[in-house]
Amino acid sequence: MSTGEMLDPEDLDERERTALEHLGKRLGDDEFVLAERYTEWQVRSPSLESDLALSNIAQDELGHARLWYDVLDDVGLDEEELVYERDPDTFRHSTLVEQPFPEGDWADAILRSYLYDIAEKLRLEALEQSSYPKIADRVGKIQGEEEYHLEHAQNWLERLADGEDGTGRLQEALDRLFPHALTLFEPTDPDVEEDIVELGLRTATLPELGEEWLSIVLPFLESLDLDVPESGLADADGYAVTGEMLPAVRGRDGSHTESWDDLFADLTHTYRELERDRPTKIMEQP
């Protein structure tokens, strides 16, 4: 569908700008909010070593959020508009990343990371040939870091699934998280989503990404003796995300679970309290 032509950042029409904005936000918001949740584990992980590992991952994701948000500088959006002064109902992240962690639920943190990291791996592959140069250029740097995240999640999953306590907790987390994970493949807006692919900003459709994700995630989780909800997903035509598997709110369209409002209020508290009008930049280039 893609014309194979590169878009010119200096000369974007309305349709291109909107598509770029939606794509940049779904990428950046996912990373930003997930990182925000990961940092809750700092100083609270099971060991000093796992603390260091998760801190690394959180900082990587924050760095990626900064890279994606910076792409949106091209359509005139700054950090205050993208985060600190934004209406929380316009955030485009998947509801998977905004869920609070039940206290001490390391199984949730690890499983969430796995579900997310597989999806991220696939979508990064679909951005390698993006028609937007700044996106294509940044994929490699992010992929380099994501490899370690996935390895970390898989190692821990295997270790936790080895014990009875761990398996039980993983199963609970899976039942809770799985519907939210499926929203990773929901459109922000069906028409704009079509444009994202037609313009070649991303080279795979969301159903294609969802199908591939299911074909990787389901067998792996089943190999750990976990029951995947709705595991009749694989029919004659292969895997597919269907409407009835999704939660009531889908994140991508701006609808969110309650916990998002609390999280947003918390993370903008200082900015509002000090009556700031712009976030402090330390680095000029992300």
Partner: protein, 313 residues
């Protein structure tokens, strides 16, 4: 080696695990390093909420990295303490959770607002830097070695704190006022960071005689005041009226000891100061919530962590 020989030989990086050291030395060194390691952990605990509350992505990243560094320092220091053969890391972490482990006075006070963060990240860390720099010459070689890395990273932390202070003091009137209020609240605690004066210090003589401690509390505090009173003023902070401080004939800052609340300090030192007890229990609670993971891993006999220890060098 007997204690007399230890005292005779005591010098920078003089002793290592290869030496047969008397229990008195090993216990004193363990107490000192354990205190230091515990302080890293409790400092990180105090600052963690500000990863979320930081008012920009860049600041958020810096806070996350700083908290991570501190956990790394804790890891490194517990390892240096373990080499003395007195306590294991597990025992030290358990003691910290159970309220037996001791740590810096400043980290017993809760921190609720962002304007307080430079009080720790600039002043307390600046004070810590002074002490840590001298510990690169401590007689227990693994401790001195750990200090090389810790000091390097602490330099960045102080810069981070200084930058936050500079931004706040160049901000709106409201920001400046709130920052001044936070400074007034934290200033006496910061002065007490170095502990009681030498004549009232419990452990100083022995630790100094065996080369563990390189500088006395008085010397360190003096050097800190000489450097940080001008810095505070440079950023527009006013030094509070109490505790009274004045310059003596040699141009050095002198504090009225009686203006400092030493009862509170010693209550803190015993881990009996109420707000501090809350912080210790809060951390204990968080640790208990993930006990099941440690149990799972231990049953499995796999070392904890998903990667080689970060802070190892």
């Amino acid at each position: 080696m007997d204690i007399e020989e230890v005292k005779e030989r005591a010098g920078p990086r003089e002793f290592s695990p290869a030496d047969d050291l008397p229990e008195e030395y090993r216990k004193a060194a363990t107490r000192m390093i354990e205190f230091h390691a515990n302080s890293e952990i409790m400092g990180a605990y105090l600052e963690r909420p500000f990863i979320r509350q930081a008012p920009s992505i860049d600041r958020k990243l810096a806070f996350s990295a700083k908290v991570q560094d501190e956990i790394g320092h804790g890891q490194l220091l517990y390892r240096a303490a373990e080499t003395l053969g007195v306590k294991t890391r597990e025992e030290m972490l358990d003691d910290l959770a159970n309220g037996k482990g001791k740590f810096l006075n400043c980290f017993h006070y809760p921190m609720t607002e962002y304007v307080e963060t430079p009080m720790v990240a600039f002043f307390v860390d600046g004070a810590a830097m002074r002490r840590q720099a001298t510990l690169r010459r401590t007689s227990w070689e693994p401790y001195a070695h750990a200090m090389d890395k810790v000091c390097f990273e602490e330099g960045f932390h102080v810069k981070h704190g200084e930058d936050i202070l500079r931004t706040l003091m160049n901000g709106s009137r409201k920001e400046q006022q709130l920052t001044q209020e936070a400074f007034e609240e934290w200033w006496p605690r910061i002065i007490q960071f170095f502990g009681p004066t030498d004549d009232k210090s419990t452990h100083h003589d022995f630790a100094a005689s065996v080369g563990l401690k390189q500088k006395s509390n008085d010397e360190l505090r003096q050097a800190f005041l000489d450097q940080y009173v001008p810095k505070a003023r440079k950023y527009g902070l006013e030094i509070p009226d109490y505790p009274r401080i004045h310059k003596n004939d040699e141009g050095r800052w002198v504090v009225e000891e009686d203006d400092l609340d030493w009862d509170e300090f010693f209550t803190i030192a015993k881990n009996e100061y109420e707000p501090g007890v809350g912080q210790i229990d809060g951390r204990k609670h968080a640790q208990e919530a993930v006990q099941w993971v440690r149990d799972t891993i231990e049953a499995d006999n796999v070392p904890a962590g998903g990667q080689p220890p970060q802070a190892a060098d």
